[in-house]
């Protein structure tokens, strides 16, 4: 006699029972009411997209995390969305050009990120996010996103959290100054991402002494440019290039506005941070809570993404991982 196969779910997805669903709903309503107070309006995007369309807005890393399958009729490859931002970019660029800017949108959706081989690293994530599309980049828009994220987290009842702010635009400009092949730049970027200074030093050594003087000093300092506001000042003293100074000025203005809104206690700065989606072009930020090992929110400025969908406007946005916030709150939510 054969035993019937157990009734199971694929890796990475799960059911949520009433008790947990209620905790999630509380966090959702705290975040959504904050978003509405800032004048953001909800949009709903589809579960599936054509890979070709989605790919316009995805970097190499995200492309490997897409669960794909074929549309039976057409033979075209479809995907379950791994990220909502490219969908919003498509939506705004193709259907919302007649809306006045700045355009403030939010969403409350699930995404699915597939790990190679479908192992335990596959994950369905409940995301609540906001995007602000405008004609130009401004410290005002960037700081508003950070302050709104802080307000929303406070409203959920979360106490010990930090929003860590960096600037990929700054790091990209530092790398652009180096006269070494792209392969070498990628290695340098990876070492910076890990704050691995000894690794960085050996890369600089093997690259034949092309990177010297101020550039070398700045690269090796990047791994230590984390902490509070004073790191911007420190970075200023290492950066003679006007393009670098411009990035740091922008960042400083953004931080100053956040400070004036009374949120300085909730932020940290890390100029050596290069993680996040490939589409980020400027200020990036992530939220961390003390008892959760991974970021509870991440976001940043992406000024070239909408252009890829044919609409040359700029944008900044972020998304919360709702279940991580529930975990961070532990038993004492709201």
């Amino acid at each position: 006699m054969k035993t019937p196969p157990p009734i199971t779910l694929p890796q990475g997805v799960r059911d949520i029972l009433p008790e947990e669903a209620e905790r999630i709903a509380k966090v959702e309503s705290a975040i959504l009411s904050t978003f509405k107070r800032y004048g953001f309006r909800r949009v709903i995007t589809p579960l599936l997209e054509y890979v070709d369309t989605l790919s316009l807005g995805m970097g190499r890393d995200m492309k490997t995390k897409v669960l794909k399958f074929m549309e039976p009729g057409s033979g075209m490859v479809m995907a379950i969305r791994p990220d909502i931002t490219p969908q919003i970019a498509r939506l705004v660029a193709t259907r919302m050009r007649d809306y006045p800017l700045p355009l403030k949108l939010y969403y409350n959706e699930n995404v699915f990120r597939y790990a190679d081989g479908g192992g335990e690293r596959s994950k369905e994530i409940l995301q609540i996010g906001a995007e602000c599309v405008s004609g130009d980049a401004s410290p005002e828009a960037d700081s508003e996103m950070v302050v709104m994220a802080i307000d929303a987290l406070k409203k959920t009842g979360l106490k010990d959290f930090k929003i860590d702010i960096g600037d990929v635009g700054f790091v990209k400009k530092v790398l652009a100054r180096l006269a070494v092949p792209d392969e070498e730049k990628r290695k340098i970027k990876d070492a910076i991402a890990k704050k691995d200074n000894s690794g960085l030093e050996s890369i600089l050594k093997t690259s034949g002494g092309i990177i010297t003087g101020a550039d070398r000093k700045l690269l090796l300092s990047l791994a230590t440019f984390y902490g509070e506001k004073e790191v911007i000042k420190k970075a200023m003293s290492f950066s003679k290039d006007p393009a670098l100074k411009e990035s740091l000025e922008y960042l400083k203005k953004t931080i100053d506005i956040i400070g004036r809104k009374g949120c300085m206690d909730s932020i940290t700065i890390d100029l050596g941070e290069v993680r996040g989606f490939d589409y980020y072009t400027g200020i990036i930020f992530e939220g961390f809570a003390e008892n959760v090992g991974t970021p509870i929110l991440s976001g940043g400025r992406y000024d070239t993404l909408l252009e890829k969908y044919g609409y040359p406007v700029k944008s900044t946005g972020f998304a919360f991982d709702v279940e991580d916030i529930v975990t961070a709150l532990g038993g004492n939510s709201l």
């Binding site: 704050k195 691995d196 690794g199 902490g227 940290t268 809570a289 959760v292």
Partner: protein
């Protein structure tokens, strides 16, 4: 004054533990002889508000990635093999060794690694091994073992191995010769991302204090 935030550090049992503990001892982060009781896996330095846990070397990156430990000490071999998303702010320059490809003496004579096309290799490090040979255009059948790798060629399980060597004594005793070095290895301080962001002062202090006692 705000209360200082406690931190937890995961230390690897095995090959490098004694050296690691000595370094932390010199830096004043560990006091007393914590290795006298072999069965104790968690201990605390109250004065410094630091807690230590002893775990398997291969498990250190996992504890740190999930934030169960704020920081840890892990070998470059384990870190490269597992490729977890961690900060690696410092090379501690202890536990030094090399990861090499080795084969029996008899095979080495007249063998040219550049002409290999398909080989069978036993190792504890399947990911590193696969990447190393694929990069050279060599197809490789990997046999994952958990220890005593150097026995595998003797027993005819495979022709070649990828393993760590410190002095080369073990290879020699088993009639094996080094063919090439894949990477140089040492122990590193690793750190959880959220810990570095939420406790930046403590992590900076840890790095600063250890860096004063790193030699070479």
């Amino acid at each position: 004054m705000k209360k200082i935030k406690p931190i937890t550090i995961a230390l690897p049992k095995g090959r490098t533990l004694r050296e690691t503990v000595e370094l932390f001892n010199r830096a004043g982060i560990i006091t007393g002889d914590i290795l006298s009781d072999e069965r104790r896996l968690i201990f605390e330095n109250r004065k410094e508000s630091v807690r230590f846990m002893l775990v398997r070397a291969q498990d250190v990156p996992t504890y740190v990635e999930y934030g169960a430990a704020d920081a840890g000490v892990a070998g470059g071999d384990v870190l490269t093999e597992q490729a977890k998303d961690l900060y690696e702010p410092m090379d501690l320059k202890i536990g030094r060794c090399r990861m090499v490809v080795a084969e029996p003496k008899g095979l080495k004579a007249g063998d040219n690694p550049r002409h290999w096309t398909r080989i069978r290799v036993a190792t504890k490090y399947p990911n590193i091994t696969l990447r190393h040979f694929l990069k050279k255009g060599i197809q490789v059948e990997i046999i994952k073992l958990y220890g005593s790798i150097e026995l595998a060629p003797l027993l005819g399980l495979c022709e070649r191995i990828v393993d760590l060597v410190q002095t080369g004594e073990t290879l020699k005793k088993n009639g094996l010769l080094e063919v090439e070095t894949i990477m140089e290895i040492s122990s590193r301080l690793v750190c959880n991302r959220a810990s570095l962001k939420t406790k930046p002062k403590r992590i900076k202090e840890l790095v600063d204090r250890l860096s004063k006692y790193i030699s070479g």
